[in-house]
């Protein structure tokens, strides 16, 4: 067995980047599973792709533009009906910035 492809510390760092809480048990299990998957994926390292262009779009297409014409959009009430919390016709969210008064 070589070094792990991903350490527990890296798992914690990535979970933080993804804004996703993992318990200690979940993080341990995640480390083992990601290590196994990344171990398999390492087979790609054997391919020399330095001169190959990446494919971001499988089917070549031009950037689509449409006429800039106003159209009816979804009703505000219907959208807000799905929100966990609303206030004054908008989404109510936890405090984003602390402001000293």
């Amino acid at each position: 067995m070589g070094d792990p492809k991903i350490t527990l510390e890296e798992v914690q760092r990535v979970a933080k980047l993804a804004r996703m809480e993992l318990s200690a048990d979940e993080a341990n299990e995640m480390q083992a599973q990601l290590d196994s998957i990344l171990g398999y994926i390492a087979e790609l390292d054997a391919l020399d792709v330095s001169k190959v262009e990446p494919t971001f779009h499988s089917i070549p297409m031009d950037a689509a533009l449409r006429p800039d014409v106003p159209a009816r959009c979804v009703d505000r009430e219907e959208v807000l009906a799905e929100a966990p919390e609303t206030e004054a016709g908008g989404f109510a969210v936890p405090l984003v910035l602390e402001v000293d008064s």
Partner: protein, 488 residues
């Protein structure tokens, strides 16, 4: 005339058109069957009794008024629960979207309604369409109607099961790396993944945006072709929707295969261990040859890297797409001590294990210092896979492999090892990465009585060729007239 519930969509429409039955009666009969069987099969997460009967009544009223009926008038359709349906819950089989009611219809839902289809309900899936067995649904897995101890496949397992068990005539699924084709193969139905861009993704809840396509599922090739005609076409609301001419797909089913060059992927097929799968594939190829096609050996030397490339690209795109589920605008919110803590708790509790795994994998592959080594490398390998297809299609018109290396595996067999589950997608991933259209059509049963599918792939926007070839396979060794014995 075929008995309920196995009549085809065309027959149902014809009988309604002729006044032999009403759309409401047809819908009631299917709803009753769903009522009886769904508690066991778990194919539907939500059955829309009221909406279905209202749509059916609309068809009957239109007919009474002498208005022309749409191509799917009165035909009961099951819809995967990652397609937005206005006023009807759309959950992606995730706790984070439990009870979510979209304020708009997906493009494909609008198209179905316009065609007169009756939407029976929303079908079960692996959470956010991530999985190959349906075992990642937050609301319990679907059963395979051919053997209830086996996986129905995933992620569109509910849609595949619904039509295989006669709970609806037609279904829509979505396919990112095989998510209509693999359950289609496992449940013995046709499953069509169109060319990337052929069908609008507007209102399909995004998993991996460079790969996702909505696809028709049906017991017959002809019905899937008819459904493709209804949902395909340019839609300005999806920037990747292709403005390419459509051909008559139903008509293409009758075109035959005389002179068609059928590529056989020898290098991919060599790895198949399952004797039943090999035998079924050979019988399908023999049928094509007997009808005038020529078989050509081709190779896809880089297809073996598709699993690695896909499981970097799709999770990377997913990690970005699923960032929108943050507990602010819709779905679950688990309140924490501050904003960040609220995000962390909402997402930690709202997503199931496989979705969390893929978000982690994707976030890792895109993170600073790893982007070039993982994500960019995978996109370069994707180019090699595309080039393999370009080479192959200079020698052949369509290309065949099995859809899956084995018939349906047992429920629970692969849940402990995510990598093992990923490797089951080996044949469906390469066409997905290349954006190509592909069908899985049934081509026989295993010794144990499980369906087997052949995958037929074509160059971009050549869905018509797929219809012609698949119809020949169906005529020779399909399962249209052999529903699963326990539900026949």
């Amino acid at each position: 005339m075929t008995d309920f519930p196995w009549q085809g969509a065309f027959e149902i429409r014809e009988r309604i058109d002729q006044g032999e039955t009403s759309a409401v009666d047809v819908t009631r009969a299917f709803l009753d069957r769903v009522e009886t069987l769904n508690a066991r099969l778990n194919a539907f997460l939500y059955v829309d009794h009221e909406g279905a009967l209202a749509a059916a009544a609309g068809v009957d009223r239109a007919r009474a008024a002498g208005a022309p009926l749409g191509p799917l008038a009165g035909v009961p359709v099951a819809v995967k629960d990652n397609l937005c349906t206005r006023g009807v819950t759309t959950t992606c089989a995730s706790k984070i979207l439990g009870g979510y009611v979209p304020p708009y219809d997906a493009h494909v839902i609008e198209a179905l309604r316009h065609a007169g289809a009756v939407i029976v309900g929303k079908t079960n899936l692996d959470e956010f369409a991530m999985g190959s067995s349906n075992e990642n649904s937050a609301f319990g897995n679907v059963l395979n109607p051919w053997d209830v101890k086996r996986a129905p496949g995933g992620s569109s397992g509910g849609s595949a099961c619904a039509i295989a068990a006669g709970l609806a005539s037609l279904a829509l699924g979505s396919d990112t790396g095989g998510s209509v084709r693999q359950p289609g193969a496992f449940c013995g139905v046709n499953a069509f993944k169109p060319t990337y861009g052929r069908v609008s993704r507007y209102g399909l809840i995004a998993f991996a945006s460079s790969l996702d396509q909505v696809g028709p599922m049906a017991r017959s090739v002809r019905e899937s072709a008819a459904m493709l005609e209804v949902i395909a076409g340019h839609d300005p609301r999806d920037a990747t929707s292709a403005d390419q001419p459509l051909s008559g797909y139903v008509e293409a089913c009758d075109a035959g295969v005389k002179g068609l060059r059928v590529g056989v992927c020898r290098d991919q097929i060599e790895g198949v261990q399952d004797a039943d799968v090999k035998k079924a594939l050979d019988s399908a190829l023999a049928a094509l040859e007997a009808q005038g096609a020529s078989l050509v050996d081709v190779t896809l030397p880089h297809a073996k890297h598709a699993v690695s490339a896909y499981y970097l690209i799709a999770p990377a795109e997913a990690s970005s797409n699923l960032a929108r589920f943050d507990g602010m605008r819709y779905g679950l919110r688990v309140t924490g001590s501050d904003l960040t803590d609220t995000y962390n708790k909402t997402r930690g509790e709202g997503f199931g294990p496989e979705v969390r795994r893929r978000i982690m994998l994707g976030t890792y592959a895109l993170s600073a210092g790893y982007y070039d080594a993982f994500y960019l490398r995978a996109q370069r390998v994707r180019t090699l896979i595309r080039q393999d297809y370009d080479d192959a299609f200079s020698k052949c018109d369509v290309l065949c492999t099995p859809t899956t290396p084995t018939p349906a595996f047992a429920l629970g067999e692969k849940t402990s090892d995510p990598l093992e589950m990923y490797l089951a997608d080996i044949f469906t991933l390469p066409p997905s990465l290349a954006g190509l259209p592909a069908i899985s059509t049934p081509c026989g049963l295993s010794g144990g009585g499980l369906p087997i599918g052949i995958q037929i792939v074509a160059p971009p926007f050549e869905e018509g060729r797929i219809c012609s070839a698949a119809q020949v396979v169906e005529d020779a060794c399909g399962l249209v007239t052999s529903p699963p014995p326990a539900f026949a």
